[in-house]
């Protein structure tokens, strides 16, 4: 009964893409990856990633499981689901369309 909610901004899109390419990651790992690929352009409060992750989890796009790391700490690792993949594909398409439209508008304005 997951509801279709579209999140503001591009964070979910980014997270899904990262999880798709890199496989299961914990929140900190995702943060590092975002920092790495976006050259700190998209840097936000790191903590705000978590409500986004939890919302995506509730929506069924990603799923989580507990792992124990090398130094015996409990870490929660996220993985993309089939639904998440579909969502990602759709969001990417939409994003591209919007992007193209904005670009066209900018060009011809």
């Amino acid at each position: 009964m997951a509801r279709q909610e579209s999140f503001q901004g591009s964070l979910p899109l980014l997270v899904l893409k990262i999880l798709l390419k890199r496989g299961p990651l914990h929140g900190y790992g995702i943060t590092l990856r975002i920092e790495e690929i976006s050259d700190d352009v998209l840097r936000v409060e790191e903590g705000s990633l978590y409500p986004a992750l939890h919302r995506m989890e509730e929506a069924g796009w990603i799923k989580a499981k507990w792992l124990t790391t090398g130094n015996k700490r409990r870490a929660r690792a996220y993985e993309i689901t089939a639904e998440g993949r579909r969502r990602l594909e759709a969001e990417e398409k939409r994003w591209m369309a919007v992007h193209a439209a904005v670009m066209r508008a900018l060009k011809h304005a």
């Binding site: 929140g27 903590g47 509730e58 700490r73 929660r76």
Partner: protein
């Protein structure tokens, strides 16, 4: 994620908090580790990591809300919203709750009765290994349950390795005199084997129970055990009951213990009050191989199947029957003897006990449960149409909610929550209804001679039943309106400022048809039950049961076997006949329809003896006159017929004369009663009209009325306009005739006959009640649907009237919306009724489902109810003012 995991989250809130904490902490720790590994001091690293992370507390809160709140929140909102919505529609709500709770209550009551009488296992150790024995001669429809004691002993001793058998007497209400009371009271007593309690696994609540050592020598073990229920009712759970004495069946027994509370006997429907050892039954009966009196129960030994036990028992049983066959009448026809010898014995599982109450009422209860279920379905259809109507009038609200982003699932959730609120309320009230009416139904099953009591405890089964019923009902009546509401598109609903034009009665059609069909079946079944009851009440008994008091009179001290001489009974009868207020009196061995009867083989000269045994009753002269049985030919009995020297004069009824003396007058003929080896001559002095003896439904059996013999106890038939009030008169008059005469018990002849109508009366009353409920439901439902239809088509009706349509035409228009749907419902109902009638007719008297009246009566009732329900909306339609109707859009 599913709502299930959210729900789990709610339940495991603690875990959720810890997980969130851990997850965020891990992030911080990892960042600090990274920073310190790059050379930043620990304290500064922690500070930096925290700043970069943001407000942990706020983040944790918002994450928790994501996992926890939304669904709960929305449910709570829906509940509040639902309650408010129901409060706004008080009439609709009340109608829905009342009809549902009545129906749920009826279903729950029926279920609790069925549970107590049929389904529930006996409250003893491991009931699944309990069995009872039955015998069946070829061609018999049901098992015989009575065994004689010598046979029981042989069976028990031969099969010890397979099954542990124990014997039980039948149960009937008997007089018991306790040493602390002057008057005897009625108790249900049962005589049992010494090891019965041990085999059943019953433990004492006080003192000790009957043991094998209490059941060795006939007449030597004067002990009794009380039931917990009786101990509570009669002795207020006083421990001093131990050691008291009770006299029952003319034997004094000392109370040695009380059985545990959960054990109320092995016959559901009857709660046993007292148990005594078999050896305290009559010594003669215990030794007699021809008196079949005991039932046999047993517990299977571990790892033995019933077939193994059966084959062992069959060998013993067949041997016993062979030995007995030698004392059968020498000229018995061979087929009757073969039937006797080929009787088979069966081991029947009896985890839930075995009882005549169940035999008698099980089918009727299932029928009632079925009817109650149909009523519930009608109520569901009814509430569903109310809800659809309501949902339609809420179309704009719903459209608004959809257009501001409410999901379809969310709307369905809301509708279902509203239905659930309704059914929860109905379930709670229904439970109360059930608690009130179930004992009422049980008391309807009791007669003046047998008290039916059931252990109706309200346990988890009933709760489960109510819960399941509630859920089913919610979905049954909630889903249609929910789906319908969620299919609304905001564009459609909002574009015109008003309701849409297209008639939307479509959704009601299946509901109306279903409701009508179910209602028809209920009325059909009820109609047959009522018709059967009426026929039974009006049945020609052959005697007139009104204004006759049946008084059991004891001549002499209780327990003494001294028979009162015939002259004493004659004197009593003559005295009472002269007493003012009494029309006529007769004396007999027992009353008609009182229960007992006596059958004897007869030999009629010129005819072979057959296995049919006519009925016998010992009566005084004047019996026919008092009972108003016709004297067809010859003369009545006279007191002087009892003088021993003369051959015994008898009256026979017409049925007897037809059977044994066809085509000739039986008066003056002689035949013989077979008493073992003795042939007793009987001379027919008169022919009586046919009168029923103990069975209401069967034709009056061939009957012989013999002159009363001297008995210590007899029954008076007193025809008097005083009815029951004659008791006081008799208390005065009896001692005037002889000081030893006492009246022991009094009832009315009409009550004795009525006792045979208990099941029919209960069925007729309850199904009649249900059919009234169902008609009200159908009428209310139709009224609602039609009113809604008229509102919907207001504009159309307005236009038509503006164009000159006559009121009659408008009425037809309104009625046509449901007319053919109702007709289809009636047709389906009739088909369903005829299909199910088969299940019912077995219980009914001379009622056939194909009888046109069986179909016509419910048809007329329902059509009338429908027309009445349609009247108001139709009138309303004719009063539509075209101008107003057209302006409102």
């Amino acid at each position: 994620m599913s709502w299930l995991s959210r729900f789990v989250n709610v339940l495991r809130r603690k875990n959720l908090e810890r997980d969130l904490e851990d997850e965020l902490q891990f992030h911080l720790d990892a960042r600090i580790d990274e920073l310190t590994s790059r050379g930043m001091p620990a304290e500064q690293a922690a500070e930096y990591a925290r700043r970069r992370f943001g407000d942990t507390l706020r983040l944790r809160e918002s994450s928790r809300d994501i996992k926890l709140i939304p669904r709960l929140d929305s449910i709570l909102l829906d509940v509040v919203f639902g309650l408010r919505a129901w409060r706004r529609n008080k009439v609709v709500t009340a109608a829905a709750v009342v009809s549902l709770s009545l129906a749920i209550g009826a279903c729950a009551a029926a279920f609790s009765l069925i549970d107590a009488l049929i389904l529930r296992s006996l409250p003893v150790d491991d009931p699944s290994t309990l069995v009872h024995l039955g015998v069946r001669a070829p061609g018999d429809a049901r098992d015989g349950m009575s065994f004689n004691y010598p046979l029981f002993e042989q069976l028990r001793d031969a099969s010890r390795a397979q099954v542990r058998l124990f014997g039980l007497s039948d149960q009937s209400r008997r007089d018991a005199s306790f040493d602390d009371a002057a008057q005897p009271e009625k108790v249900y007593g049962q005589w049992i084997s010494g090891d019965a309690f041990a085999i059943l696994g019953v433990r004492p609540a006080l003192g000790r129970l009957i043991m094998p050592s209490d059941d060795v020598t006939p007449g030597r073990h004067p002990v009794a055990v009380l039931s917990h229920d009786f101990w509570t009712r009669r002795f207020d759970r006083s421990p001093s009951v131990l050691g008291r004495w009770v006299t029952i069946r003319e034997k004094s027994l000392q109370i040695i213990g009380v059985a545990e509370a959960r054990f109320t006997g092995v016959e559901p429907g009857i709660m046993t009050d007292l148990w005594a050892p078999n050896m305290m039954w009559d010594a003669r009966v215990i030794a007699d191989a021809s008196t079949r009196w005991f039932r046999i129960w047993g517990r299977m030994q571990p790892d033995v199947d019933t077939e193994q036990a059966r084959s062992v028992l069959q060998t013993v049983f067949t041997g016993f029957q062979r030995a007995q066959a030698r004392s059968r009448p020498p000229d018995e026809p061979p087929d009757s003897l073969a039937r006797y010898l080929n009787t088979s014995i069966h081991v029947r599982p009896s985890a839930s006990g075995y009882s005549w109450v169940r035999q008698e009422f099980a089918r009727a209860l299932w029928i009632l449960a079925g009817v109650a279920l149909l009523v519930l379905l009608v109520a569901c259809a009814n509430v569903a149409s109310l809800l659809v109507a309501r949902a339609s009038s809420r179309e704009r609200e719903i459209a608004l909610r959809i257009s501001i982003g409410a999901g379809r699932g969310r709307l369905i959730q809301q509708m279902l929550i509203e239905s659930a609120l309704l059914s929860a309320a109905a379930g709670v009230i229904g439970a109360v209804v059930a608690v009130v009416i179930a004992p009422g139904i049980v008391s309807m099953l009791s007669t003046s001679r047998s008290v039916v009591r059931l252990d109706l405890h309200w346990d988890w089964r009933i709760a489960l039943f109510l819960g399941t019923a509630g859920l089913l009902v919610t979905f049954l009546f909630g889903l249609a309106p929910a789906l319908r509401a969620s299919a609304v598109t905001p564009y459609d609903a909002l574009k015109s400022g008003n309701l849409k034009e297209a008639p939307r009665v479509g959704l009601f059609r299946p509901l109306v048809a279903a409701q009508t069909a179910f209602a028809f079946v209920v009325l059909f079944v009820a109609g047959m039950c009522l018709a059967s009851f009426q026929k039974l009440v009006r049945i020609d008994l052959g005697f007139d049961p009104e204004n006759i008091a049946i008084v059991r009179v004891q001549a002499g001290e209780p327990g003494s076997d001294a028979a009162a001489p015939l002259a004493l009974w004659e004197q009593l009868q003559r005295h009472l006949e002269r007493t003012p207020g009494i029309e006529s009196v007769s004396v007999s061995r027992w009353g008609l329809f009182e229960g007992p009867g006596r059958n004897k083989s007869v030999r009629v000269p010129g005819r072979a003896v057959d296995s049919y045994m006519p009925w016998y009753l010992d009566v005084s002269p004047g019996f026919l006159r008092t009972m108003r049985i016709r004297l067809v030919e010859g003369r009545d009995l006279e007191w002087r017929d009892g003088v021993p020297e003369t051959p015994s004069a008898v009256l026979v009824n017409e049925g007897f004369a037809r059977r044994y003396f066809p085509g000739e007058s039986a008066v003056g003929k002689r035949f013989f009663r077979i008493d073992g080896d003795v042939l007793v001559p009987q001379d027919i002095v008169g022919i009586a009209g046919d009168a029923k003896y103990t069975d209401l439904r069967e034709a009056a059996p061939p009957t012989v009325y013999e002159l009363l013999r001297p008995f210590p106890m007899a029954v008076l038939q007193v025809r008097t306009p005083l009815d029951g009030a004659v008791a006081a008169l008799l208390r005065e008059e009896l001692p005037r005739v002889h000081p030893a005469l006492r009246s022991v018990e009094m009832t009315l002849q009409s009550t004795l006959v009525g006792n045979h109508l208990v099941r029919d009366r209960a069925l007729a009353l309850l199904s009649g009640f249900f059919s009234i409920v169902v008609m009200v439901l159908v009428a209310v439902g139709l009224y609602g649907v039609l009113t809604f239809g008229v509102l919907r088509r207001m504009r159309e009706i307005g236009i038509r009237m503006a164009l000159g349509a006559r009121p009659l035409r408008v009425v037809a228009l309104v009625l046509s919306e449901i007319g053919w749907v109702t007709a289809i419902g009636l047709a389906i109902g009739a088909a369903g009724g005829i299909a199910t009638a088969r299940l019912v007719t077995g219980l009914l008297h001379e009622v056939t489902p194909s009888d046109p009246w069986s179909l016509a009566t419910p048809l007329i009732c329902l059509v009338t109810a429908c027309l009445l329900a349609a009247l108001l909306p139709a009138l309303r339609a004719t009063r539509v003012d075209p101008v107003t109707a057209l302006r409102c859009d």
